[in-house]
């Protein structure tokens, strides 16, 4: 309970701190998160990893059934809880420096705390409905945090895009929930695990996978994630690298039992496609955060693919390692951005500090950052002695465990992705830290840029340390540790090490003599024109449809009333009975029609008594004739 409530209290406290003392916010929030970390550690040590634990209590009655809210703790949960709380704590701490002086710092920490809470909700909950609720809520906090700097148009747009795309994915989740409820009558994961669905398994699985794909930025729903980098960098580290995007992977692992083989194949294909496209796109970009974002996309693709291939433990392990090294990378990137922003503020220069074309040679100015970046980058690349190597190894060996042709193919693609990963990581580090930028006006100022303050440096260092091998296992070449067991065959180790080294060599040779990163291909920069495709296929049609509806509303539904009235009016014009009295506000069919009739009746009322008598007599005659006839 401490784990869950601490971030929430942090959020609430942050909201309550008076505006004047907003610097206090970061302090209290970080402290609360520290409590959460402590709680998580206690949980991890007491809960044990082997025996799942389950507490629940009824929440509300749904039809004849009861929806309960409860906590379900197993191995994956423990891992996730640790990851979430630890990364969150460090991000809180880091933010204390990064966001210092921001006007809306209270809102920032509120949302950060709220996010952590809802993220833990996803992780701990035993109930798909509650998972879905938290799922939506992390989307909301993500929306708020991406859009934190609301004055920036791209932040505003990116936040909307992120939320919309997640929302569309959530439709799949809703559909999945509907199927689950129809066929099982319960949302309880433990119950579902034992009794399963009666029918519709593939539909349910694919529907839920749509949500996972949106949340974990899988092909083809990943385009929101690079845009989401418009948010503050710590947020990117926490949400869009370490935790929220991993929620999909986690959920997939948790309800793996709901996925029949066919659905798993789809998952694998989507994961691999994501891994490859993400890695390729990372090569095509210049924005430091976007590159990291695509890297995240790619790595998530690997995890999903692993899950699709049945490597649950390995995928979760990679999730864990990825969380640390990717958070470290983001925080380091944030440090660069933060520092250079400060520098810009003093010199008054304006250039895009996130564009690697504007950077270079930062190695000397920011040694700590460089070190962190190097370690985490190495981990990402899967160089031995770093955690990333071990987790990738675990995945690879799990995939190959089956030993069939499909496994081989998956593994091959996996290695290609790894190759690309190494390449883009090298490219990034090379151009940011190592390659000298000659002739740049800003170069002078860089010499003197200070390293970031301690509150920011400390989390970076810790995360970098956490990216080393010991986090998985004391043996740097084995992934069989506290979390996973098993060994990789020597062949896979050799092959993968070979691929990594080969890639390093290739990258060094390729980038060595370039003074500036070049555009690889438009198709990569524009991420395969997916956004354009969405614009054509979804956004614009909906916009048109919406405009059409509005027009229909005004023109046809109202127009039906008005229009048929206009016909009457035209008639009335012709006959000469129209007068301005009609235009008095009773604009509707009935009134027009009746007033037309009324005009007819009134024509008898000419004021001429002879006519009166004539019409009265004629009326009687006609009445008689009518009755007789």
């Amino acid at each position: 309970m401490v784990v869950l409530s601490a971030p929430l209290i942090s959020g609430i406290l942050s909201a309550l701190v008076p505006l004047r003392y907003s610097w206090l916010v970061s302090l209290t929030a970080s402290f609360m998160l520290l409590l959460a970390v402590a709680g998580a550690v206690v949980l991890a040590s007491t809960a044990g990893l082997e025996k799942p634990q389950h507490f629940s209590m009824p929440w509300f009655g749904l039809g004849g059934n009861t929806v309960s809210v409860g906590i379900f703790i197993d191995k994956y949960t423990v891992v996730m809880v640790l990851v979430v709380t630890i990364v969150s704590f460090f991000v809180h701490m880091y933010s204390a420096g990064y966001m210092a002086g921001d006007a809306a710092i209270r809102r920032y920490f509120v949302m950060l705390g709220f996010f952590t809470f809802t993220m833990l909700g996803i992780v701990l909950s035993d109930n798909l409905l509650v998972v879905f609720m938290c799922w939506e809520l992390v989307g909301f906090s993500s929306y708020m945090l991406i859009g934190h700097w609301m004055e920036l148009p791209e932040a505003a747009k990116a936040s909307r895009k992120a939320y919309m795309m997640n929302r569309i994915g959530d439709l799949g989740f809703v559909a999945g929930l509907m199927i689950v409820y129809r066929n099982a009558g319960t949302f309880d994961i433990t119950v579902l695990a034992t009794q399963g669905l009666q029918g519709w398994e593939i539909a349910a699985a694919l529907c839920i996978f749509v949500a996972i794909a949106a949340k974990s930025a899988q092909f083809p729903l990943f385009t929101w994630l690079p845009d989401a980098m418009a948010g503050p960098t710590p947020v990117s580290a926490l949400i869009h690298a370490a935790t929220m995007v991993a929620a999909g992977v986690f959920l997939l692992a948790r309800i793996h039992f709901l996925f029949p083989p066919l659905a798993l194949q789809v998952v694998t294909i989507a994961g691999l496609a994501t891994a490859l496209t993400g890695a390729a796109a990372a090569l095509g970009h210049f924005d430091i955060k976007k590159i990291l974002a695509y890297s995240t996309v790619s790595q998530l693709g690997l995890m999903v693919a692993a899950l699709g291939a049945g490597a649950k433990d390995a995928a979760m392990l990679h999730l864990l390692t990825h969380a640390f090294f990717k958070a470290g990378l983001f925080l380091a990137a944030g440090a660069i951005i933060h520092t250079l922003h400060q520098a810009q503020m003093s010199t008054g220069e304006t250039y895009d500090v996130q564009d690697i074309r504007n950077l270079g040679g930062l190695r000397k100015a920011m040694p700590v950052t460089f070190g962190v970046f190097l370690i985490c980058g190495a981990s990402l690349s899967g160089i031995p002695m770093f955690s990333g190597f071990q987790s990738k190894e675990a995945i690879l060996s799990s995939i190959l465990a089956g030993g069939d042709a499909v496994g081989m193919a998956v593994a091959a693609l996996f290695l290609i992705a790894t190759f690309l990963t190494v390449t883009y990581t090298f490219r990034l580090i090379w151009f940011v830290f190592i390659a000298e930028r000659s002739g740049s006006a800003s170069e002078v100022s860089w010499r003197s840029v200070p390293e970031v303050p301690f509150v920011m440096r400390f989390p970076m260092i810790v995360l970098a340390l956490a990216s080393l091998w010991w986090i998985v296992s004391l043996n740097p070449f084995s992934f069989s540790g506290w979390f996973t067991t098993g060994t990789a065959s020597a062949l896979t180790t050799v092959v993968s090490v070979g691929v990594v080294l080969g890639a390093l060599a290739f990258a060094y040779l390729f980038f060595r003599n370039r003074s500036e990163p070049s555009r690889v291909a438009d198709v990569l920069t524009n991420t395969f024109y997916l956004d354009a495709l969405y614009a054509i296929v979804v956004t614009r049609p909906v916009g048109h449809l919406s405009a059409l509806c509005a027009r229909v509303d005004r023109k046809y539904i109202d127009g039906f009333l008005h229009g048929s009235a206009y016909i009457q009016v035209t008639l009335a014009h012709i006959v000469g009975w129209f007068d301005k009295a009609v235009v008095d506000g009773f604009v509707n069919l009935v009134a027009r029609l009746t007033s037309w009739l009324g005009a007819f009746v009134r024509t008898f009322q000419s004021g001429n008594i002879h006519k009166y008598i004539f019409w009265a007599g004629m009326g009687l005659v006609l009445l008689t004739l009518y009755i007789v006839a």
Partner: protein
């Protein structure tokens, strides 16, 4: 007697038609008088002497006189007779002929009931019977008719007594 009926009937219809075609209002009034008298004649041959007498007294003696009085009062220039202009010949003829044709067809097609010769009570003349009926069976209408006359008097007086200059909006 039937010849007398036809003669009276002819006179009445002719006089009525004359009104329709009369050029001058005064002539029309006089033709109406002729018509009334002829109708009185028809009453007389239909065993309704009392009605005939009333007809002559009230209509010929009263109504027509009032009307002639009215014609004179509404004559714009003294000495110049009031011409009556006509309008709506079409609608008038349409309505009148429709009613005429319709009703005559009906009358000729359907039997209304053959009149029988009245049996005269020897002891009382018709006038006697009228008197008694008027005071017994028809007492209420008689009184109401009196009231009607009173109201007519009051009403006519009100209308006539209002001296209203020809000031109008």
């Amino acid at each position: 007697m039937i010849y007398a009926f036809y003669i009276f009937a002819f006179i009445a219809v002719a006089a009525a038609a004359g009104i329709l075609f009369a050029r001058r209002l005064f002539h029309a009034a006089l033709l109406l008088l002729v018509c009334f008298l002829a109708v009185a004649g028809i009453y007389a041959v239909s065993y309704a002497e009392w009605v005939a007498v009333t007809q002559i007294l009230v209509y010929a003696g009263g109504v027509v006189v009032i009307i002639i009085f009215g014609i004179m009062l509404t004559t714009r220039a003294p000495g110049r007779p009031t011409a009556i202009s006509n309008s709506k010949w079409f609608s008038g003829l349409l309505l009148g002929l429709a009613v005429m044709g319709f009703l005559i067809t009906l009358f000729l097609r359907e039997t209304v009931g053959a009149p029988t010769v009245p049996l005269m009570d020897e002891r009382f003349t018709l006038v006697n019977r009228f008197g008694i009926a008027l005071m017994t069976d028809y007492l209420l209408p008689f009184e109401v008719a009196g009231l009607l006359l009173l109201i007519t008097l009051v009403g006519a007086a009100v209308i006539a007594a209002t001296r209203n200059k020809n000031t109008s909006s």
